[in-house]
């Protein structure tokens, strides 16, 4: 699946899908507010996306995604979630920054890197190595700039145990 939409068009698809998800009426005004653009920009984007069969929109009516549009939107949303998850959980970034970065990076990251990022997150959460998990030790390292005592401690214990 090649990336066939520009960053902007992906943003429109994503915004429509999110509004849909929140049960809100999807109208030009809403989209324009979410994306911080003026209404004519939305109209113009909708025209383009309709032309490509990703969106259904009669003038002055509600905005809907076609099944193809929905698929494309879900793809973007998935990328977004994976990224913001990675940033906030693995890197302990504040939600605001995590969102911001996800919004930008979602348009440019490769499939492979995204998949690996996800797996990395799963791994760090699945491989706790004792009572303190990886994330906790990382956060200690972030705060103090050096490895946590218990991390070094554990190494010596392991060595003893395997002797």
């Amino acid at each position: 699946m090649v990336r066939e939409q520009t960053a902007s068009m992906e943003d429109y698809l994503e915004a429509i899908a999110n509004l849909r998800e929140e049960g809100k009426a999807v109208r030009v005004k809403q989209v324009s507010q979410v994306l911080h653009v003026k209404m004519p920009s939305v109209t113009s984007a909708l025209k383009k996306l309709s032309g490509e069969g990703l969106v259904r929109h009669e003038p002055y009516g509600y905005i809907e995604l076609t099944s193809r549009g929905d698929k494309a939107a879900k793809d973007v949303v998935g990328r977004h979630k994976a990224l913001s998850c990675f940033f906030s959980q693995a890197l302990d970034i504040d939600p605001g920054t995590a969102e911001e970065d996800a919004c930008k990076i979602e348009h440019v990251i490769s499939r492979l890197s995204l998949e690996r990022l996800t797996k990395f997150l799963q791994f760090t959460q699945a491989c706790p190595l004792g009572e303190a998990n990886f994330s906790k030790r990382y956060k200690y390292y972030l705060e103090h700039g050096e490895l946590p005592e218990e991390c070094l401690l554990r190494i010596s214990k392991v060595k003893k145990a395997s002797e």
Copy 2:
């Protein structure tokens, strides 16, 4: 330090800095080849960057960075290196993809996330937790889809040792 350049202009600065670094003569042709754009695009970019005092360039002459331009370029290059390093080393992505992704993401990632990514990499490399380091275990997980034996094993050993 706010991001004051567009992605394109950052690409030009970066390319000039890299060519410089490699000791090559920095000319319009070289830059155009590196960035896969035509020469008029380079000329036009140079005009813009000169106007902003980031580049020195007499018509038909060599291209140089001013000190401000150099600073800006070093900043981009630093972001690029941090990212490609993270992708290739922490996520075990092939160098080609790591480069590609770094090239895109370097223009949009926040300072904070970049810093954390770097620290994360340092941490995973500094916190080996025994003979097999974190990266190795992660790569095992990548290949086999489950935690390595020795990882689970170590946990029990640690538990035994601390009993």
